[in-house]
Symmetry: C2
Subunit: 567 residues, 2 copies
C-alpha cells in the first residue's frame, strides 16, 4: 500500500489527490492544507469581490468532507507542513488549530504549495487597509474592509492579471480606482503596443491609470471616528477605519481607502529549500519532466516549480492553473508507477479587462530580444466574425515567427470577442510544431455568427507568408521614427478617415482606389512607406507600387498598431 502525502490542497494538490484515488483504491492519501479551505477557485476570487459571482459557496469546489466521500482522501486543513525529513521519509506538521506538531510518514511526497504574493518592504505597508489576494481568507478580509471602511477610492499596485481583475472588481462596485504600474505597460505577457489597447480600455472605464509609477511609502491615517455599539459596530471597526496616504515614485501623494498589492507572486520554496531539494535558476523547485524533484520520492508541481519553456527550453516560472492541474494529474500517475511526462509550458494566458480580452501564448517580442532570437512579426486587425453579421468586433492579433524556419514563436491578441479562440488556435499550432506556411491552411469553423471564410488566423498567416516569400517588404511602427530623406510616407486611406482617426505628419494621401490613376504623382527614386488603417489596403497598394517598379514597404498593422503603441 503506497502512502502519498500531499502538501497544498488546491489546484495541483487536489488534482493529484483525485487522480491518485482513481488510479488506486489502496493508496493512503493525506492532503495537508495550512489554510481553512481546499479546492477553492482562486481564479474566481476577484469576481466574487466585484459581485459577478454572487454566491460565495460556488468558489468552494470541494470540501474536506466531500473529498472524503468521493475520493477517500484524508484532508487536513489548518495543517501546515513545516519540515521534511527525507532520510526517514516523513514530514512534520503543525496543527494550526492548537499549535501541536506531529510527524507523518510518506512513501511519496507531493509538493504543491503554490506561490505567495510578493509584497515588497515598503515603509508603512503593513497596515489594516493593505491586502493581497491569494485565497478565501484574503478575499474575506478585502470584503470586510470594503464593508467596514466605506471605501470610495481604492488603489491597486501591479498591472498583472490579478491587479487588473481587482481594478475591474472595484470599478464594478462603483469605487474610483487608481492602478499603479512601475513598467510602462500593464499585462507584461504582451508587448507594449498590444497593451496600448488595454490602456485605452482602462482609461475609458474611468480608472486612473498611472504607468511608470511605483509606490514608495504608505502612511496609515486613522480617521477621527469612534465606533459605537448602538450603530451595531464593534471595536474591530475602529482598527480598520481610516485611509492611506501613498507616496509615489514621482513624489506625488495619493489618498486612498484601500490598497491592493498585486505586483506578482514568488514560488513557495522554503520547505523544499530547507529539505535540501534542488532549486532551479529562476528560484522555483527544480523538477524533471516527470515532475520528480531531486529526491526521487518527492514530486512537485504547480506555481512552486520551474517549468520548461516550450519555445526556448529554458526554465521559467508560469503561475497558471492549467499547468498546475495537469502537472498534479501527472505526478499522481508517476507516484503510482506511471510515466507521464510534462511537455513544456507555452504560458498561454488570458485576462478580461472590462469589455476586452487580452491573451497570449509563447514568447513575446521583448523575451525574444532578451534571448537574442531572430524573429519577424505581423499584426492584423480583423473581424471576430463576418463583419456583415451583427456583433462583430475587431480582433487585434500579433504573430511572432521565425524567418528561418517559419516556426511560430508567439502570439498576442486583444479584442472584445473571439480573442480566446484565436490564441487557442495558435497555441495548438505552436505546440504541434506547425509553421506559418501551414497556418494558412487551417480549416476553421465558419458561419457568419462565428468566423470568416478567411479567419483572423488565416489572415495573419497570409501576411506572414507574404513577408517570408518576399512579396511584402514590411516596415514596423517603431521604424517610422528612423525614416530618412530617401523615404516617403504614403497614406492610402480616405481623406475622411485621416481626419477622423489621425495620421502621421508629413504623409501624402492618395486613397488606394485612386492609386493606379495617380501613381505618377509619386517619385520613383524614393522608397514609399505605405500606410493604411490595418495594413490590408496598404498591402494592395504596396503590391501595386512594387509591380509598377517602385520601391515600397507596407506598414504592418497599419495606423491602428502605430496608434496603439503610443497609447
Amino acid at each position: 500500500m503506497t502512502k502519498i502525502v500531499i502538501v497544498g490542497g488546491v489546484a495541483g494538490g487536489a488534482s493529484a489527490a483525485a487522480r491518485a484515488r482513481r488510479l488506486s483504491e489502496n493508496a493512503e492519501i493525506i492532503m495537508f492544507e495550512r489554510g481553512p479551505f481546499v479546492s477553492f477557485a482562486n481564479c474566481g476570487l476577484p469576481y466574487h469581490i466585484g459581485g459577478e459571482i454572487t454566491d460565495r459557496s460556488k468558489l468552494l469546489l470541494q470540501t474536506p468532507a466531500s473529498f472524503r466521500a468521493r475520493f477517500n482522501v484524508d484532508v487536513r486543513v489548518m495543517s501546515e507542513v513545516i519540515s521534511i525529513d527525507r532520510t526517514n521519509k516523513s514530514v512534520t506538521v503543525t496543527n494550526l488549530k492548537d499549535g501541536s506538531d506531529y510527524t507523518e510518514h510518506y512513501d511519496y511526497l507531493l509538493l504543491s504549495p503554490g506561490a505567495a504574493p510578493f509584497v515588497p518592504s515598503i515603509p508603512g505597508i503593513n497596515n489594516p487597509l493593505t491586502h493581497s489576494l491569494r485565497n478565501i481568507p484574503d478575499m474575506d478580509k478585502i470584503l470586510q474592509t470594503l464593508q467596514v471602511n466605506n471605501v470610495e477610492h481604492a488603489t491597486v499596485v501591479g498591472g498583472g492579471f490579478i491587479g487588473l481583475e481587482m481594478m475591474e472588481a472595484f470599478t464594478h462596485l462603483g469605487i474610483k480606482t487608481t492602478l499603479l504600474e512601475l513598467a510602462d505597460q500593464v499585462m507584461s505577457p504582451v508587448d507594449r503596443e498590444m497593451a496600448g489597447f488595454v490602456h485605452s480600455e482602462i482609461q475609458a472605464k474611468g480608472v486612473d491609470l498611472r504607468l511608470g509609477t511605483a509606490l514608495t511609502a504608505v502612511e496609515y491615517v486613522t480617521d477621527n471616528y469612534i465606533a459605537t455599539e448602538e450603530a451595531g459596530e464593534t471595536i474591530a471597526h475602529q482598527h480598520i477605519n481610516g485611509h492611506l496616504q501613498l507616496l509615489l515614485s514621482n513624489n506625488q501623494t495619493l489618498n486612498t481607502d484601500m490598497l491592493i498589492m498585486a505586483i506578482g507572486v514568488r514560488p513557495e520554496t522554503s520547505l523544499a529549500e530547507q529539505a535540501g531539494l534542488k532549486l532551479g535558476t529562476r528560484g522555483g523547485i527544480f523538477t524533471t519532466p516527470t515532475m520528480q524533484t531531486s529526491d526521487p520520492f518527492i514530486y512537485a508541481v504547480g506555481d512552486a516549480v520551474e517549468q520548461s519553456d516550450f519555445v526556448t527550453g529554458k526554465a521559467s516560472l508560469v503561475p497558471l492553473a492549467g499547468p498546475a492541474n495537469r502537472q498534479g494529474r501527472m505526478a499522481a500517475d508517476n507516484m503510482l508507477g506511471g510515466s507521464a511526462s510534462y511537455q513544456g509550458t507555452q504560458g498561454t494566458a488570458i485576462c478580461k479587462v472590462f469589455d476586452l480580452a487580452v491573451a497570449s501564448t509563447g514568447k513575446n517580442e521583448r523575451q525574444l530580444q532578451q534571448e537574442a532570437m531572430q524573429y519577424e512579426k505581423v499584426y492584423v486587425h480583423s473581424a471576430s466574425h463576418a463583419s456583415y453579421y451583427p456583433g462583430a468586433e475587431i480582433v487585434s492579433l500579433k504573430l511572432l515567427f521565425s524567418l528561418t524556419d517559419g516556426s511560430i514563436l508567439g502570439a498576442q491578441a486583444v479584442g472584445k470577442d473571439g480573442v480566446d479562440k484565436r490564441i487557442d488556435v495558435i497555441a495548438v499550432a505552436q505546440r504541434a510544431g506547425m509553421t506559418i506556411e501551414q497556418l494558412q491552411h487551417l480549416e476553421l469553423t465558419y458561419a457568419p455568427p462565428y468566423g470568416s471564410a478567411k479567419d483572423v488566423v488565416n489572415q495573419a498567416a497570409f501576411v506572414a507568408n507574404n513577408i517570408l516569400s518576399g512579396l511584402t517588404q514590411p516596415i514596423h511602427f517603431h521604424q517610422l521614427d528612423e525614416l530618412n530623406n530617401d523615404q516617403l510616407l504614403l497614406d492610402v486611406r480616405s481623406p475622411g478617415e485621416l481626419e477622423r482617426v489621425g495620421f502621421i505628419d508629413g504623409s501624402i494621401n492618395i486613397p488606394v482606389d485612386q492609386l493606379r490613376q495617380r501613381m505618377a504623382e509619386l517619385p520613383k527614386d524614393k522608397e514609399i512607406i505605405v500606410i493604411c488603417q490595418v495594413g490590408l489596403r496598404g498591402h494592395v497598394a504596396q503590391r501595386q507600387l512594387v509591380n509598377r517598379g517602385y520601391r515600397a514597404r507596407n506598414l504592418i498593422g497599419g495606423y491602428k498598431t502605430y496608434a496603439a503603441a503610443t497609447q
Copy 2:
C-alpha cells in the same frame, strides 16, 4: 502579359481575381458572372431574410465598379460563359442583357462556378411559392413572396445548414415553420445522437420538425383573391397569391404559404463536362492539389471541384466558403507561376440553430463505418468556461479517434457557447497530426470568463486516453440495448437527479459518494455498467469498482448522451 479569365465572381472567383492582381499588375483579368452581383455574402442571405442583417447592402462586399477601382479587374456581370474551346484557349460568353454571344481568349482559365441547389423533380414543384436560396436574386424573390403572400406558415425541406438557417429565419419573423427531413436527423455532418440536441432545440423553439419525412408532391392553390389597384396592388400579386398543399411520404398533407427547397447542392460541372475536363468519382471537377484540372491551362476551385478528404485521402464534395476562398487564392498563385498546394479538406463546419451552435470537423462515425475504419469514441459534456462564473454553458463534445495510433479522426460539438472554439482547436490538432495523447497537453487560454483549467478538449483527451491505456472499460449508449444477464446497470447519480432527469429501467441506484460504503450490495459475478449524467462520476465509480476487484464499464457520455440519442 498573362490573360486570366475567371468564370464565377463570388467566393472562389473573386478571391482569385483579387490575389492575382496583387501578384501582378500586368495580368489582364476578366471575371464573368452570369448573375447581376459579384462578391456577395452567400452565407449572409438567410440572416437578411430573417432580419438579423438589416442592411441589404452589407451583403455586397464588392461591386464591379469597386473591383475595377481597387483591383483593375474587368468584371462582367450578366455574362454567362457557355462553352470552352480548349484548343483555341477561348470561351464563349452570352451577354444575358441582350442575348448576344462573343468569345474571349485566355492564357489561363479559372472555373469557380459553384454548386447549384438540387431540386428534385417532384410533381408540382415548379410554382411561384417554391424557392431555393443561392444568391441575391433568390433572396429577393423570397423576400418578395414574404411581403406579398402574407406568409403565416412556411415549410423548409432539408435539415442541412441552409435549411436550418431558413427555418430559423422564418421563426424569427414570427412565421410558423415546418421542417421536413428525409433522414432521421438534421445536420448530417454530425452523428444521430449529437443531432438529438439540435432536435430538442428546434422543437423547443416551436418548429414543427418532421424527421423521416419526404415531400412527394406539391399542389399550388391560388387563393380566391383579386388584386386591386386601389389597394396599391399590381397584377403580379395575383400570381403568387395562394398557398401550397404538400403531400408527404407518410401520406399526410400539409398546407403552407411558402416552400423552401434546401436538400443539398450539386457541383456545376456542365461547362467543364462539355469541354471534356475530367470529372471525379463524386461528380465534381477533378483537380490536382495545385487546383489544376486535367487541362493544364484550366484551374478550378470551390464548390464545383472534388477535394481530397484530409482523413481518408479520398475525393469528397465539401461546398464551404473557407476552402473556396483559399483555393481561389492558390489558383491565382499557380496561374501566375507559383506552386501553392491545397492540403485537403477536413470539412470543418458550423451552424447556428437558434441558441445552439453545432459544429464538426473530420469524419463522423457513420462515415468511418462506411469506410470500414476502426475507431473509438468519447463524449464529454463540460462547461464552456468556469462553471462558477456567470454564463457558462455545457459544451457536448464527441471525439473520434484511432485506438491503433491515437490519431484524431473527427470531432463534433453542440452547445450554446464555446462550440466553435473547441472544434477549431481539434481541427488544428487533427491537421497537425497530433494524437489524443498530445491533446491532453494542450495549453489553452484560461480565466474564468473564457475556459477552465482543464478545458473541454483536455477532458475529452483524458477520457480517450483512459480508454487507450485500459484504465477505462467503455460502454456506449447503443450497446445498452444488448445487455445480457451477466450485466447490471448501476446508476451513481443522486436519487433526485434520476427523478428529475430520467433513468434507464432496471438500474440500481447508489450515489457515487456512497459507493465505497455500499459496495457490498453489488454482486461480484456480474459486469457492472456504471451510469451517471455525463460520465465523470461514472468514471470515478468505475475506477473504484475495478480497483476493488469488480468488473465494471463506464457509460461514456452518461445518461445525457443516451437521452440525446433518443431525441
